[in-house]
Symmetry: C2
Subunit: 308 residues, 2 copies
């Protein structure tokens, strides 16, 4: 957690009309600005600090805020202001924000954004939140397998402003069907005239379909040490990509869920039980199982101790 | 988990003298070969499959094996054979393997490897296993801040065989003190004649010191959405890098530890208690706390329900 003094310094700098967004960008990481706003005193101070960031930096900070500050800003910002922010965001973050406001407000917001953004985000919103489609982003760099390395680098250059974390180029055929994945390193190390089709692995690429469960996606990242993963539809047509930092969030979520479940406080229990009696009824078997499990573990350890 | 049929197919292909290592490499990911060996029937079959891989592929598969197959191979392979494997491995994996054999065998193994590997791995072994130094690898691409983009690309080319996952170039001054981090993307997008010092962020780079706890390292990756992190000594001299896939493993470990602790079976308890009575004594307070916690949670939820 940021020390109090640092929080004050960041908020003062943000609110200081003399200090440009460039100054903030040169001195603070968006994650630190987000935490400073989370920890700032009072709703009005949080709000004015966020507003002082402007659209570019605001669109980076908003997805990083804690629930409280985020809800506050979503509630207190007009649809048009949110539309501006969403227009600058990665599509997965934009979809998350729209999932957090009322359906009515989401529609109002989408009315203010360019058609292209509307279409992309609306598509993402159709996928289950816990599926590959629900956590992927649209932004990626793709190259036709017949394009040369030089052409692909030009394409990357054209998209550089829009897409920040590029680790891999996704290679497709003329129907946008996924053919392979080329790490940036291979673009640098291969002659400019080679085609992308020649430099990709002969092994079929690792991918997820849009409806794959997010746990499956996390498993693929872990097993194959990935930094990004192409997501395709049932016809193998490229739809988006999942990036490792989103998976890290999923892993945290799943670990928390596991811990909640073990403590007998999983989602269902928390949302569907209503009285203390029900809570106790729900928990007691878990505690009993835990006790019995403890004895079994103890016995096992004791017997292994014998074996050693 | 791999289906039985797939396990059989992989093992048969591995043991088939007609199928080259290139064939295996084109058709299977090392993680799948590792799991097939984990699931293969019997020690002898596991051993002969592993040996059939040869040194190059064996050095990739060994760190991915489950504990059982890994221990088997470490026990049944001579120091020289393990030395060959370790010589081809990333330094962090090599250090892990050496940490898993007896000190005597580790010394025997290190006697068989080139001096450079010996020095690197011995240095890594001096760090606490759960520190940044203990999980980092030596392999990285560094560039002097005065080098041009073109020179840095040449350096990357020279190291390409040795280092597979390059996402960032670490930028240092003439004393090897860390100055910044340049994503590969920036090498591609900037003119060849610019110096690396000109293209890095003006913000000081995010780094960990060798003695930082691995939890701190994982936190940095999560907070700043990193894919790799430079590790420095107390004088800011670059010592190594941690890559995201190692952090994913750390996160798993820490989550498991949390779950173990919650179940009253954390490391200390498992390793230091000796009798069932002690186990019970150790666990009961946890179970009691869990029960009381359950009631408190129940009460809280009930009171929030009132508030809603």
């Amino acid at each position: 957690m940021l020390p109090e003094e640092k929080v004050r310094q960041i908020i003062n700098d943000v609110l200081d009309g003399q200090k440009s967004v460039q100054y903030l960008d040169d001195n603070y990481h968006p994650a630190d600005i987000a935490e400073a706003i989370d920890l700032a005193d009072g709703e009005e101070r949080k709000l004015s600090a966020f507003r002082a960031l402007g659209v570019d930096m605001g669109s980076e900070v908003l997805p990083l805020l804690g629930d409280e500050a985020r809800d506050l800003i979503l509630k207190r910002t007009e649809a048009e202001g949110l539309g501006d922010l969403i227009g600058e965001m990665d599509s997965d973050d934009a979809a998350d924000i729209l999932g957090d406001v009322t359906d009515e407000k989401a529609e109002d917001i989408l009315d203010t954004v360019p058609d292209e953004v509307d279409q992309e985000v609306s598509m993402l919103l159709e996928y289950d939140e816990e599926s590959a489609g629900g956590i992927m982003q649209i932004e990626l760099v793709e190259a036709n397998e017949k394009a040369t390395v030089a052409e692909t680098i030009e394409k990357l250059r054209a998209k550089a402003d829009e897409i920040k974390d590029v680790h891999n180029i996704f290679v497709v055929d003329e129907n946008r069907k996924l053919k392979g994945v080329a790490p940036l390193r291979d673009l640098i190390l291969n002659p400019a005239k080679k085609t992308i089709g020649e430099i990709i692995d002969s092994q079929p690429p690792i991918y997820a379909t849009v409806d794959a469960d997010q746990e499956k996606v996390a498993w693929l990242f872990k097993r194959y040490d990935l930094v990004s993963l192409p997501v395709v539809d049932n016809e193998m047509v490229l739809k988006g990509r999942v990036v490792i930092d989103d998976v890290v969030d999923v892993m945290e979520e799943e670990a928390d869920e596991d811990i909640m479940t073990m403590a007998g406080a999983d989602d269902e229990a928390l949302t569907q039980t209503h009285t203390i009696r029900e809570m106790v009824q729900y928990r007691l078997p878990w505690l009993g199982a835990s006790l019995i499990g403890g004895f079994i573990t103890g016995a096992l350890i004791w017997s292994f101790k014998m074996a050693i």
